[in-house]
């Protein structure tokens, strides 16, 4: 079971790294932004798995904060990165 969870972790991490290419290459801010949002989701998943693996229920709180911050950052990105002033 633990091995399976560890492998899931690695897979999740790889999915983050694959998304990095989008951030790096761009070109539109929207693309970079969405890739970043993908990390938020993957990081929450990693935290959930880790909380199981490391026997630390406190990590669920951390995951909750991550999820919440992802929502807030999204608003920030949209407001501050949108081109021009509407």
């Amino acid at each position: 079971m633990n091995t399976f969870l560890s492998l899931t972790l690695i897979a999740l991490l790889l999915s983050i790294l694959a998304g990095l290419i989008r951030v790096f290459r761009g070109p539109a801010p929207a693309e970079r932004m969405l890739a970043a949002q993908l990390f938020g989701t993957a990081a929450v998943a990693i935290l959930l798995v880790l909380s199981q693996l490391m026997q630390m229920p406190a990590l669920l709180d951390v995951a909750m904060v991550f999820a919440l911050l992802a929502a807030v950052t999204l608003v920030g990105f949209v407001v501050l990165a949108s081109r021009g002033v509407r």
């Binding site: 492998l7 938020g40 904060v65 949209v78 407001v79 081109r83």
Partner: protein
């Protein structure tokens, strides 16, 4: 067979280093900020792996979240004043003074040598050396809280924490001093869908922030993490224009900035009676006092971080007039 967790650790460490390099070398400044936020999130994950969930929370909320928002806001402002807001890419909006490549290379080699030296020194250090473990374990029953990190922050080393709140106060005073009534980039207005989304996110953020503050006494969380999450509420309010700072609110804002520092310092002073010294809370009241301090500090942190994000002191909109000196 090696433990897959070790592979995960190595991959995570490599990803963190790669992100640090990428954030510094990517040309587009917007991409730089995005990479930086991801870097912060991954560092927080690494600290989770090192069994430091409190630090991970603080780094995710303050180090990555608030810092990222500050950087974005600044980039937006810079692009506005340099007139590049309409362009898709955000290259060098701050002036570039060309530095000879030789100088850069020499600097890089120099830093590389320093890093190498540090790495050698690190490898030579005793692994899992001595620490405060025993002392903390022994003193915990007398601290008034159940969570060791909160005990250290608000009791054993409360003086450091007070000074940390003072640093925040100094920062907001300095920011209000620096930014004056000069042209501010008008923030774009959100569309209807986004307004709705933000309205949904708001109450959730308030609840989580308060929860984090409350849970701090026995589990990871506490004033700083809770304050940072509540600051996100402030950020949302500012971003959605649900709240626009008015000059008449300055007095309240000043009060909120100093609230945490003032209460913290006063409590620390007033407990010094009956043979006790400053910061020595009487055991029977320790939990109440710590909660009081934490609550006030949380309010201050939330308001201060939101004010740092907003930047300048709210001033009356006078056209053309510039309050100087």
């Amino acid at each position: 067979m090696t433990d897959p967790l070790v592979i995960f650790d190595v991959a995570l460490a490599l990803a963190i280093v790669a992100l640090a390099v990428a954030a510094l070398s990517v040309r587009d400044l917007f991409a730089m900020i995005v990479l930086f936020v991801v870097f912060g999130l991954l560092s927080a994950l690494a600290w989770v792996r090192l069994s430091a969930p409190d630090v991970a929370l603080a780094e995710a909320a303050i180090g990555a979240g608030v810092t990222g928002a500050l950087l974005l806001k600044t980039l937006h402002h810079l692009r506005y004043v340099s007139g590049t807001l309409g362009q898709q890419a955000a290259y060098g909006v701050t002036p570039l003074t060309p530095v000879p490549i030789g100088v850069t290379l020499a600097n890089a080699i120099f830093c590389g040598l320093i890093t190498l030296g540090l790495a050698v020194a690190y490898l030579g250090a005793p692994a899992a050396g001595p620490g405060f473990d025993a002392l903390v374990a022994e003193a915990m029953p007398r601290s008034g809280v159940d969570h060791p990190v909160t005990g250290v922050l608000l009791n054993f080393r409360a003086y450091d924490t007070l000074m940390e709140v003072v640093v925040l106060l100094a920062a907001v005073v300095a920011v209000w001093q620096i930014e004056r009534g000069v042209s501010d980039a008008p923030a774009p207005v959100l569309g209807e869908v986004w307004q709705g989304f933000a309205r949904l996110a708001l109450p959730a953020t308030v609840v989580v922030g308060t929860y984090l503050l409350w849970v701090g006494a026995e589990a990871p969380g506490g004033a700083f993490q809770g304050g940072a999450v509540l600051a996100a509420v402030g950020l949302l309010l500012l971003l959605t224009r649900a709240y626009v700072p008015q000059p008449t609110h300055r007095g309240i804002a000043r009060g909120a900035f100093v609230l945490g520092t003032g209460v913290f310092a006063l409590v620390a002073l007033l407990v010094a009676s009956g043979g006790r010294v400053a910061f020595e809370y009487p055991l029977e009241h320790a939990k109440t006092l710590i909660l009081l301090i934490e609550g006030m500090v949380t309010i201050s942190i939330a308001v201060t971080l939101a004010a740092l994000f907003h930047g300048r002191e709210p001033v009356a909109q006078t056209k053309g007039g510039r309050d100087d000196t």
